[in-house]
């Protein structure tokens, strides 16, 4: 069983800034992921690269040192993902970053998908018929 955790822009920003009011909550998600990895559970946190752009997460900048060390993998907006995201964006009228999340959900083969998001309604809409768990931040 594989569990894919997708972070949205707000989740990234909450994780990055100790001054953010949801910082502790965001860290709790990462702490749970780390504990499960310790037990060899198949679980992976990913950030869509379009979300990284929106949140300003530059992996080469020391400002983002903490996040760079939390083993959050980039999910790239490659050609197929861009096409899916473009279709989602024109259909649902969402941001590029949210459409990229939708494209990842559509392509995911994980047995469980969770999106950590500040916008549960949009994410549920993005998921369509695919079963997705929403963790509201």
């Amino acid at each position: 069983m594989t569990h894919l955790i997708i972070l949205d822009s707000e989740a990234v920003q909450a994780l990055a800034s100790p001054a953010h009011r949801k910082h502790r909550q965001a860290l709790a998600y990462v702490q749970v992921i780390a504990s499960r990895k310790q037990r060899a559970a198949s679980i992976q946190a990913v950030v869509p690269t379009a979300v990284r752009v929106e949140a300003g997460w530059d992996r080469t900048s020391p400002t983002w040192a903490l996040l760079n060390r939390l083993r959050i993998t980039d999910s790239s907006l490659d050609s197929p993902a861009a096409s899916t995201a473009a279709a989602i964006r024109s259909q649902a009228g969402v941001s590029v970053a949210d459409a990229h999340i939708g494209a990842i959900i559509a392509a995911a083969v994980a047995t469980r998908i969770t999106v950590v998001t500040s916008d549960p309604a949009d994410m549920q809409r993005m998921a369509g018929n695919k079963p997705v768990t929403i963790a509201a931040i």
Binding site: I5, R24, Q25, Q31, A34, Q38, A40, T114, T133
Partner: protein, 137 residues
């Protein structure tokens, strides 16, 4: 340029190209090796015992790197450290557990279980809260 820490070096190695492999002289307990072989042949949990070992090792190393980053952050920002209640809520949200909608109940369960079992995990809290929420038979 500052010298990289051990977790940073481990993290960089985890990101490195995996196509290069090497034979190791790592000694495994024979029973563990046989259990892994059985899990592969009978349960199909991985393509090979080597793959199963590599996945488990990667997961453990990722957890170590993540925990080192989190611990360093908690040292700098003690108020950012999630308590057991925070972790139980996060675990419930990530899993789509029905009690995720009752954070107060989970916080109370965390307080109760910590009094008896100081080393309780977020999953222990969920089980405890679930049992408490069940109507008496």
């Amino acid at each position: 340029m500052a010298e990289r820490t051990a977790p940073e070096r481990i993290s960089a190695l985890l990101d490195a190209d995996e196509s290069q492999t090497s034979n190791t002289s790592m000694r495994l307990p024979a029973a563990l090796r046989d259990a892994a072989a059985l899990a592969v042949s009978e349960l199909g949990v991985a393509p090979s015992a080597t793959a199963l070992t590599a996945v488990a090792l990667r997961s453990t190393l990722e957890a170590i790197v993540m925990q080192a980053a989190l611990d360093q952050h908690y040292q700098e920002y003690p108020q950012a450290r999630p308590d057991l209640g925070d972790l139980a809520i996060a675990a419930a949200q990530l899993d789509g557990h029905p009690l995720a909608a009752q954070p107060g109940l989970l916080r109370q369960a965390a307080i109760e279980i910590t009094a008896r079992h100081p080393a309780a995990s977020p999953d222990d809290v969920l089980l405890w809260a679930e049992a408490r929420a069940m109507p008496a038979a």
